[in-house]
Amino acid sequence: MSQNAFDIVATSVILLLMAVFIVMYIFLQQKRKQKHLIEKQLLQSQHQQELLQTQLEIQEQTLKTISEELHDNISQLMGLAKLNINNLLATLPPSELGARAKAEAAKESVSKAINDIRQLARTLHGDKIAETGLEQAIDAQLKVIQSSGAFTTQLIATGEPYPLEPKQEMVLFRMVQELLNNAVKHSQGKHIHVTLNYGTEVFAIAVSDDGQGYDTNGSGTKDTGIGFTSLRNRAALINAEVAIDTAVGKGTKVVIELPVKRNG
């Protein structure tokens, strides 16, 4: 082979090797960048989860403090007021019909207030929710709404009930509380319906009302949008998913689905 032919082949091979080297470098650099990006996203997601977890813990602690304050302080004071009314009733002569009737009415109001405060303290206290269980806690919450007279409520559970983790029960209960609160404040409906479905792979809670509903694409959903962002953030904490089904004049139905791992 002549010198010139050798030069051509050698230069071609060198250029080719350089090209292959550049391609390999770009390939590895992009792979590294992809890996780095995935790690960064994972860290961000973990950080977000930790932040949400902390927020939830702070909120739970605050609610617990309020609950204890209601139970230990306000409730005790109300009990004392009831005792005083009883004493008053005992000292009032039977002839003082008007005064006795007023004292009886006051006693009744105080008794009702004591019951309501105890009920409220129970729903605010996370440990109490864990003790009573999710279904009972939701039922109690619905009874409070029903007692207002503005709504009729219904709770239906289907499937074979199984226990959830305390954290899951707590988060789900707070989500249901928020949904019930939304329904009471915004729906302008008459009926609230809650279903719990103990499925084999998914535990689902559906909260629906027969209210005015809303347009999910419209501008009037700003507030509810924020509310649902908070719901979705809470759901993310327990790997649950939230789906909303609503339209103007068609009521609102929110479904929370939690994947469950069951043995056997």
Binding site: L16, V20, I22
Partner: protein
């Protein structure tokens, strides 16, 4: 007419691209499907017209322009910065001025216009490097679909490898004994196989990624 390994690789790439296009149409396979079949027609036409060198050389020379137009438009579409797009447009204009001048006044119709091939190769190598530079500079991951990476790499390796051979085309044709010319043909043929294999990988990845998205 006998088909060599490069021709078979080219036909395989065209079939893979067509299958991907029919299965899951995308911007990439929609553009490449007609271009690859056109390339096969030109290659087969070249093999059939061996006894008519004027026809063969003219066909290959004109196809050099078509090929350059196709790849440079692809790089234009891939370019993210305005400066790069302007640069590509200027290079395209310069190439076509030279290409037409060469076709009619320098090497002429009837001869293989290898000056145009050399210029086309060097511009395409430069555009590949320009694309890679943009990829390295970018903070985000450019290749969400690795299909583009394999297609650009095929073009880059092929033109970087054949550049020197086409630069000495006259010397090879006039001075080299046939026993040595086969070596160059072997290099070009193998680079063609690499080019079409990388294209095929790109088409498959593009289709797989599209499938995952749906």
């Amino acid at each position: 007419m006998t088909l060599d390994l490069a021709n078979w690789a080219e036909i395989a790439a065209a079939i893979i691209c067509t299958t991907c296009f029919l299965y899951k149409p995308s911007v990439i396979n929609r553009w490449f499907v007609w271009f690859l079949w056109l390339t096969i027609i030109i290659e087969l036409g070249g093999k059939l017209s061996t006894s008519l060198p004027i026809v063969k050389n003219t066909m290959y020379s004109i196809f050099t322009g078509v090929e350059f137009a196709f790849y440079s438009i692809m790089f234009l579409k891939l370019a993210e910065s305005r400066t790069n797009r302007k640069l590509i447009l200027i290079l395209q204009a310069c190439f076509f001025v030279f290409f037409l001048y060469n076709l009619f006044f320098i090497q002429g119709i009837g001869k293989y216009n290898h000056y145009s091939t050399v210029l086309s190769s060097s511009i395409l190598v430069f555009l590949s490097l320009l694309h890679y530079a943009g990829v390295i500079k970018s903070d985000s991951v450019t290749y969400s679909r690795w299909s583009i990476f394999f297609i650009v790499s095929g073009i880059f390796i092929f033109y970087a490898g054949t550049f020197r051979i086409y630069l000495s085309f006259n010397y090879l044709v006039t001075n080299m004994p046939k026993e040595i010319v086969w070596l160059y043909k072997l290099i070009v043929s193998n680079l063609n196989v690499i080019l079409y294999t990388l294209f095929s990988i790109g088409f498959v990845l593009d289709a797989v990624k599209s499938q995952r998205k749906t």
